[in-house]
């Protein structure tokens, strides 16, 4: 105990000041029955919560399927794999604001390159509004997230694949198992811890999505792409209702806590 304290004390002081103290402050601010009653009846909050979960589910599934497929695909490419890997990581490294700006230049109905290309082929694009239309907006922001974050799952799964023991795979091949059989019965079960870890890390980030949607649609049109983080942001910093915003943020905290606990369990067993 004595030997450890001088090393960790300064860091602990700052961490307590910037995480535990704010949390207590926030509880004091938001933990009032009136706020929870309002949350219970607040339809906009329910929509935002539902859309956040939908966004998370759609993006997570697509990113996982694509990331895993790409990892398996590129794993077999030998020396060229390095080059592909480096290029594929680009979207994830950009500042999210810059990535979203790039996609505004694509989706914009009048000036965007997407409608521009379609017009070039002589198509009528007047009804193709992408992020400006209520129907497609949520799918568009999901698409942007898939573009931006599939590289994350790809990278972790790819690293996982490379660190797998080679013997069981060799043995299966010698026994005449097909690529698909080997992948399904040996590779994927061995990869499970990395898969779990990657999915949990990603879903925690998806649940708190803010930057890209703020730039792309500001939660609109109407309420079509509003998420919990955006709604809390608006409640606190546009309408000045800090108490209610803090109360809503506890829902985020609860969901994240459940995910973080599972994540820690995965990390401890590794």
């Amino acid at each position: 105990m004595k030997g450890r304290l001088p090393w960790i004390a300064p860091a602990m002081v700052l961490l307590l000041a910037l995480s535990i103290f704010p949390l207590i402050y926030s509880l004091k601010l938001g933990l009032k029955p009136a706020h929870f009653e309002r949350m219970f009846h607040d339809r906009l909050f329910h929509i935002a919560l539902w859309q956040t979960l939908l966004f998370t589910a759609l993006a997570l599934i697509a990113e996982f399927v694509l990331g895993l497929s790409l990892a398996l695909l590129i794993d077999g490419l030998g020396r060229a794999a390095r080059l592909f890997r480096a290029g594929l990581l680009m979207p994830m490294l950009l500042p999210p604001v810059v990535a979203a700006v790039a996609w505004r230049l694509i989706f914009n109905p009048q000036f965007g390159v997407l409608n521009g290309t379609l017009k070039g082929f002589g198509l009528d694009t007047s009804h193709l509004t992408w992020t400006n239309g209520e129907g497609a907006a949520l799918l568009c922001v999901v698409l942007v997230d898939i573009w931006e974050w599939t590289p994350f799952l790809f990278l972790l799964l790819s690293a996982g694949l490379q660190s797998l023991p080679q013997e069981p795979l060799e043995a299966a091949r010698v026994d005449g198992a097909s690529w698909w059989q080997t992948t399904r019965d040996i590779t994927l079960p061995l990869l499970k811890p990395v898969v779990l870890l990657a999915l949990l890390l990603r879903s925690m980030d998806l649940m708190r999505i803010f930057d890209q949607i703020f730039i792309l649609t500001q939660g609109g049109p109407g309420f079509a792409t509003e998420t919990v983080s955006l709604y809390i942001y608006r409640t606190a910093f546009r309408f000045g209702n800090f108490g209610y915003a803090a109360a809503m943020s506890f829902v985020m905290l609860a969901i994240t806590t459940v995910m973080a606990r599972s994540l820690m369990r995965v990390m401890k067993t590794k």
């Binding site: 704010p22 490419l77 990581l89 700006v101 790039a102 017009k119 070039g120 809390i232 973080a260 990390m267």
Partner: protein, 268 residues
């Protein structure tokens, strides 16, 4: 045949990953008349650097750029100064519960902490100041530094510093002269990660810096987007300028990318 198909799919994925970025770059380099031509001009246009000149001559973007550099650098240095000794302490006198608790603070959703942090900084008159944002980023990166550096210190055999301590070194001396030089690669990778996180961060910066003199680059770019008349050229030029440092950082830390992104769980 199968290999050719594999290459084809990988190439398509690569193009899909790079095309939006490439488009952003071309917009930043095009004359205004060329930016939104139909059909779009992917390759054949007369490039110009006027948007870059305009963006940085206006002064505002130069300011945002400088603010981003100052907050990212200062918060990284502070997080390392506080976090590296803590990581060493936790590596040599393990306390797994505390390590995991420290990591868990990193997982708090920003929207949860931003409300009280905003009110606290307002009380302390630290809104719209680089100092306020630097403190927040330091706190944000600190758990990451502790967690990552602990895994690097764990890789260094204890015998080395114990031998030095038998020779009369103090523990701090052994840490400084024997252990620290051995973890330099890990230390630089961790620093690069902190720089990237602080450089890319948006939500805290948006709320804590609302004046032109304190805004960071992402907030400055966002402010352009939400205006009625968007200056596409200047905005994409600023976007390109914002992404260059990150890509340089990432290249520098390439070897440890997986380890950092998985919070040390996958060694890569």
């Amino acid at each position: 045949m199968k290999r050719a198909a594999q290459f084809a799919v990988a190439t398509v994925a690569l193009l899909a990953a790079l095309a939006p970025v490439y488009w952003l770059i071309t917009i930043s380099l095009k004359q205004e008349g060329d930016q939104f031509a139909v059909p779009p001009l992917w390759f054949h246009f007369a490039p110009t650097v006027q948007h870059y000149l305009k963006a940085f001559q206006s002064g505002a973007f130069t300011r945002y750029f400088a603010n981003s550099i100052v907050t990212a650098t200062a918060s990284t240095v502070l997080a390392l100064l506080l976090g590296v000794p803590a990581a060493y302490g936790l590596s040599r006198f393990p306390w797994p519960k505390l390590s995991f608790w420290i990591l868990s603070t990193r997982m708090l959703p920003p929207i949860v902490t931003i409300i009280p942090v905003f009110l606290m900084l307002r009380e302390a008159h630290l809104l719209n100041s680089l100092a306020g944002l630097t403190i927040v980023y330091t706190g944000f990166n600190l758990p990451f530094v502790v967690w990552m550096m602990q895994s690097f210190f764990d890789d260094v055999p204890r015998d080395l510093e114990e031998a030095a301590m038998l020779d009369g070194e103090s523990r701090f001396g052994a840490f400084l002269r024997i252990v620290l030089p051995l973890v330099t690669p890990g230390l630089s990778a961790t620093a690069v990660f902190c720089l990237i996180v602080a450089w890319n961060e948006f939500l805290f910066a948006l709320i804590l810096t609302q004046t032109e003199s304190a805004m960071t680059l992402p907030v400055g770019i966002a402010a352009q987007v939400t205006q009625y008349e968007i200056k596409w050229g200047a905005m994409s030029a600023a976007g390109v300028a914002a992404m260059v440092p990150v890509l340089l950082f990432a290249t520098a830390a390439q070897k440890y990318l997986v380890r950092g992104l998985s919070l040390g769980a996958v060694k890569g």
